[in-house]
Structures are given as C-alpha cells and as structure tokens.
C-alpha cells in the first residue's frame, strides 16, 4: 500500500473524526425514512390520484415494499461508498515524512508526501460549536516543497496532531547531518 524507506516507520495515523462519517449516516437515515413519511403523510385521496396515473398490474402493497427495499439498497451502497472514502483518507506521520493519502471516490487516490524538515508552518482551525465540543477541525501544513500546502479537514484532535508534527519536525532539525567533504580534483 505505502512504500516506506528502509529506515522509515509510521509513528502516527490520522483520520477524519468519526462525526464526519456519522453526519453522513444521519443523512442516509433521513433519506431512508422519506418513503415511509410520504406513505403516512400523503392523504389517501392524493395517493389514489397518483396511482391512477400509471397502470399497476399487480399488488400495490408488494410494489411499495419492493420499491422501498430497492431504495434502501441504493442508500446502503451510497453509505459503503462514503465509508470507503472516509476510511481511506489518511495522514501517515513517519519519522521522516508526512504522507497524505486522499481517496477521491472509489478509484481515484491522490498520494503526496513531504519531508518533515520541509515543514514551515502548521496551523489549526476549529470553527463552530460541534467542532469545539468534539475536538475536530482543519489542519494546514505549509511546506517548502513542490506541494506548498497540505490540508486535512475534519481531523480529530488537531491540536495534538499539530504538537506531534512540530516535535517530530524539531527532532529532524536537531539530528546531526552527515557531511561529506570531497577533495577538489587536480
């Protein structure tokens, strides 16, 4: 899955906060209740008019049950896609790099990495009541590399992640650098 260098090991794995996925679950649950609500709230006369628009050559109740279960199946497929997208969006902090894996849909992955010593700035944004209560927000990494910024929205405990990144960045900066002196060729 990830190609790590021989001396590299994963120190921290960051994913989006569970509430990010949970909010999508709530949306799916609400959509699942829509046909039932329509069945209950739509008056009988309106239903009769609507069913009069098409020829139903069979059991109407069975038709409703069939359509409802197909609707639930479609919503379940959508939920599985949301889960795959949520689960495969990850930041890996190793002892040498930050690797950002961004899953876009089912078949599109965007993997970028930056060395820890290239980090210039780490900023955290926790806007809103729910984000403050549940400790999740956005973390932005400014780097000196080709990819100028890394952004992770909805990450859990962003302040902890920021602290961890800064401490690893410091460790790499303080590590003695190997210097090779090459004598000039005469």
């Amino acid at each position: 899955m990830l190609e790590l260098e021989p001396t590299e090991e994963i120190l921290y794995t960051a994913r989006a906060h569970w509430f990010v996925f949970f909010s999508r679950v709530l949306m799916i649950l609400a959509l699942a209740c829509v046909p039932l609500l329509l069945y209950v709230l739509v008056p009988g006369e309106v239903r009769t008019i609507l069913t009069g628009q098409v020829a139903i050559e069979g059991n109407v109740a069975a038709l409703f049950v069939f359509v409802y279960f197909l609707w639930l199946l479609m919503l379940w497929i959508l939920l599985a896609i949301f889960w795959t997208d949520y689960y495969l969006d990850v930041w890996y902090i190793t002892n040498e790099r930050v690797i950002s894996v961004d899953q876009l849909g089912l078949f599109n992955r965007h993997i970028t990495s930056t060395r820890l010593e290239m980090i210039q700035d780490v900023s955290v944004e926790v806007p809103g009541f729910l984000q403050t209560l549940l400790h999740f927000g956005t973390i932005r990494l400014a780097t000196a590399g080709p990819e100028k910024s890394f952004v992770f929205r909805g990450v859990g405990r962003p302040h902890v992640l920021k602290g961890f990144l800064m401490s690893e960045h410091r460790k790499v900066q303080e590590k003695p650098q190997e210097v090779r002196v090459v004598p000039p060729q005469m």
Binding site: G44, N59, A61, L63, L70, W76, W83, Y87
Partner: protein, 82 residues
C-alpha cells in the same frame, strides 16, 4: 377505484401511458443487483490491495455483503408476490 394499500389494483385509468409490470420491476431489480455486486467487487479490490492494515474495509465488506443480501432477498420476495 382501487383501494390502497394491500389490495390488488386492477387496471386503472392510465393517463401517463406507463404500465408497471413484473417485467419492468425485474429489470430494476437486476440493475440494482448489478450495482450491489460491482460495489462488492470494488470493496474486495480495496481489501486485497491494502491487506490486513485496512481492517475497516474488511469489516465493511462483510457487513455490506450481509445487509445487501438481506435487502436483495426482501426485494426479490416482494417482486415475486407482485
């Protein structure tokens, strides 16, 4: 006028020209089943690619197959009783 629900609806005034037959529903069922199978294959692909490290994908694959099977069987039973 047909009663609703739970009673056989005989041919009613068809203003739109659309007839809902068992064949049409069977086609819808087949399309939904195909979508479910394709996604199952995609989840399996991700699982094989990421191996044991993607425990969440493994759990989702198992749960997905079980729940999809229940929904498909229920829809199939409703289709047969249409």
């Amino acid at each position: 006028m047909p009663a609703f629900p739970g009673q056989h609806a005989t041919l009613v005034a068809n203003m739109s020209g659309i007839a809902i037959t068992q064949t049409l529903l069977a086609v819808l069922f087949a399309v939904a089943l195909l979508c479910a199978i394709i996604l199952s294959a995609v989840l399996f692909f991700h699982w094989k690619r990421f191996g044991r490290k993607a425990r969440g994908i493994v759990i989702m694959e198992g749960l997905y197959i079980v729940v999809s099977a229940v929904l498909i069987l229920s829809a199939g039973a409703a289709l047969l009783s249409f």
